[in-house]
């Protein structure tokens, strides 16, 4: 029992630290309410690499590098690093792709949704409602026997690829070769100093790896098992970021004129519904996918690639929302996403069950 209490205390402390860091990063130069946003930062990074050409969202975000490397280091030290994968990689790629479509409809991953709430952005409440609904949709399949089947141990080098790629990307950021793209205006031009951002990422990576922090896991485990540990992490981030924002003057309550946000409630909710839905079927939010990639999980690394490719498509095809609101293309993509995720749920719940019956 004592151990159980420690567990909860640990994730609350980690959440508080992460919340303060996240609000602090916005103060140090990141876009408002965007101390962290896994979706936005992956999107900025693929923009920086030139995989999409939206001029306002191109910058290699050191926070992402830090999270992966921090998680890698923590897992390595604790002997939890192991190369594994093989659990429906393409399905995970597709789920990652559409999770990003949902994130960029709403303008933020679940992590940034918390930070937007902590900044007083009430549009994020609609996102939260959609997010919860999406998680419930995913849970329906989990309860009905959904599974992407097991992972296997892979060759020793497999799990190192994403951490290596992140280091290479970071070196590119420092070297700034002419073929990279860096926004001169818009959110992509706003960033904390590289050193701060990297360290912030490292700390969050270590804490998230140790505590298994996950933004979808909180509500999911509450509904499935009445288990509140992860939810406490979620709440701690919210509280700490809220208090930090109040102290630093980053809090502004309301719907209108919120930073990097739009006021279309329905599509804020549907975007996050898609995110919650896809992430439950993936087994973790975008942050958790980065952390598990650092732990050597190749399936999560493939999911991260799905998120990145999704982000590039979102801007190349005009699917991503902006401060003005969602786009028609984006709405169609979110609807397609919800249908595809549902099909993935059905196929991996019922079709598989049939096959198993035949085998038996």
């Amino acid at each position: 029992m004592a151990e159980k209490k420690n567990d909860k205390l640990l994730i609350i402390i980690a959440g508080l630290i992460i919340g303060v860091i996240a609000a602090g990063l916005a103060y140090l130069g990141n876009p408002k309410n965007m101390g962290f946003c896994i979706a936005c930062f992956l999107r900025d990074t693929v923009g920086g690499l030139g995989l999409h050409r939206a001029p306002v969202v191109q910058y290699i975000r050191p926070e992402i590098v830090g999270i992966v490397i921090g998680a890698f280091a923590a897992a390595f030290v604790k002997k939890e690093f192991s190369s594994k994968g093989g659990s429906a990689p393409m399905t995970r790629f597709v789920l990652g792709f559409f999770a990003m479509v949902g994130c960029l409809m709403f303008l933020g991953c679940p992590f940034r949704m918390i930070l937007r709430l902590a900044g007083g952005d009430l549009n994020a409440l609609l996102g939260l409602v959609g997010f919860a609904a999406g998680i419930l949709c995913g849970i329906f399949f989990l309860k009905s026997g959904y599974s992407l089947k097991r992972t296997y141990a892979l060759t020793a080098g497999e799990g190192y690829w994403l951490p290596i790629v992140e280091v290479v990307i970071f070196v590119l950021l420092l070297a700034k070769p002419a073929f990279l793209f860096f926004s001169e205006e818009g959110p992509g031009s706003m960033h904390a100093a590289v050193g701060f951002a990297l360290c912030a990422g490292l700390v969050v990576g270590v804490l998230a790896q140790r505590t298994r922090l996950c933004m979808v896991g909180g509500m999911r485990d509450l509904v499935l098992f009445k288990e509140t540990r992860l939810l406490w992490g979620f709440i701690a981030i919210l509280v700490a970021a809220l208090v930090t924002n109040l102290v630093l003057g980053g809090f502004k309550l309301g719907f209108a004129e919120q930073p990097v946000a739009h006021m279309d409630g329905l599509w804020n909710a549907l975007g996050m519904l898609l995110v919650g839905y896809a992430c439950v079927l993936l087994g973790g939010c975008p942050l958790r996918q980065l952390v598990m990639s650092g732990e050597g999980n190749a399936d999560s690394a493939v999911t991260v690639l799905g998120l990145m490719v999704g982000a590039a498509f979102c801007h190349n095809f005009g699917l991503a929302s902006s401060g003005e609101g969602p786009t028609a293309n984006g709405k169609i993509a979110v609807i397609i996403g919800i249908i595809v995720v549902t099909l993935i749920g059905v196929v991996n719940t019922y079709v598989k069950a049939e096959a198993a019956k035949e085998a038996a």
Binding site: K4, L142, T151, G217, D221, L224, F225, K226, M292
Partner: protein, 66 residues
């Protein structure tokens, strides 16, 4: 006996939860990484069971009893 090797959470916990509906006094759950080991342990304890973990070769055998 629940074999949840290679599965990521929450699957091992869901499998354990389903198995434990039969309300027997003893179960064994086999997992192969730390996170499901912790999560299954936490779940079993919340159901009033005692858990002993045996680790060998990167696999964890959880002996759940009451």
């Amino acid at each position: 006996m629940v074999d949840a090797r290679g599965l990521s959470c929450p699957m091992p916990v869901i499998m354990t939860q389903k198995a434990m509906k039969s309300k027997e006094d003893y179960y064994e759950v086999l997992v192969d990484s730390k996170t499901p080991c912790e999560n299954v342990t936490r779940f079993a304890q919340s159901q009033g069971y005692k858990v002993d973990v045996e680790e060998k070769g990167g696999e964890f055998l959880l002996k759940i009893s009451r």
